[in-house]
Amino acid sequence: MKRRRVLAVLVLAAGTLFLRPATAAAEDISGIIVRTLMLSENSRLVGDVICRVTGAPCIAFGVPDIALNLNGFSITGSNDAATGCKGTSLGTEPGVSTNGQGNVGIRGPGTIQRFQGDGILFIATIKGWVQGVTTTTNCMSGIRINPTSSAISVESNVAVRNGAASAACGGI
């Protein structure tokens, strides 16, 4: 009986870790994300990330003046690795969205792949940067700067097999 009680506590604790609140601070990130992870401070990956978020960004910036360091790891959506986009794109499902925050950036090395939308989306952002990131098999652009964003530096990134034939997007 006592063993069952301990096991139940462990399961609850594990569930709390994976279903973290959407506004939680995120300095170190790894594992499975099931709801949009809103960054509120400088953050880094400490392991590969699997995204199970639908209809929203996997990771979004919640405040200005912070950076996400991929630290050599990957952020992977639910697209098929071999066929990539499967012919359908969904703009509301980027891997990382700047979410209207200014002076934010994403630093590689690291990979953002298999998202139904863009790999990285700069939206309504003034000043931002992305450096050394590999984007691949995302349904829209690997890196997209929305018309509402400006003063963005996109430098030394690699974009491979992004986009769909029906959309005028692609690598960058």
Binding site: P147, S166, C169, I172
Partner: protein, 93 residues
Amino acid sequence: MGSNNIVEANTAVGNSNGIVVFPAASNNAVRQNLAVGNPPIQQSTSVPNGGGVDIWDQSPPGNNNTFAGNQCLTAVNTSCPAVSSATPRKPGT
């Protein structure tokens, strides 16, 4: 792409398009990038009407978007020098 952005020293290969500058974009600098094989040959043969190029400037000429030193094979509304004649940027310059 919006305005006043820099796209520099990136590599885009095998995408539906390599680098696209959207119609309303202005004052952007696209330089020293490598964009080839966009779209990939598999997509070109299986979706013949899909289009796609290595670099595509969709903005009107007066929008002051500049393209310099890019290596590409296909382009629309911008020049596309042969890969062999383009000179990569030296570090620190």
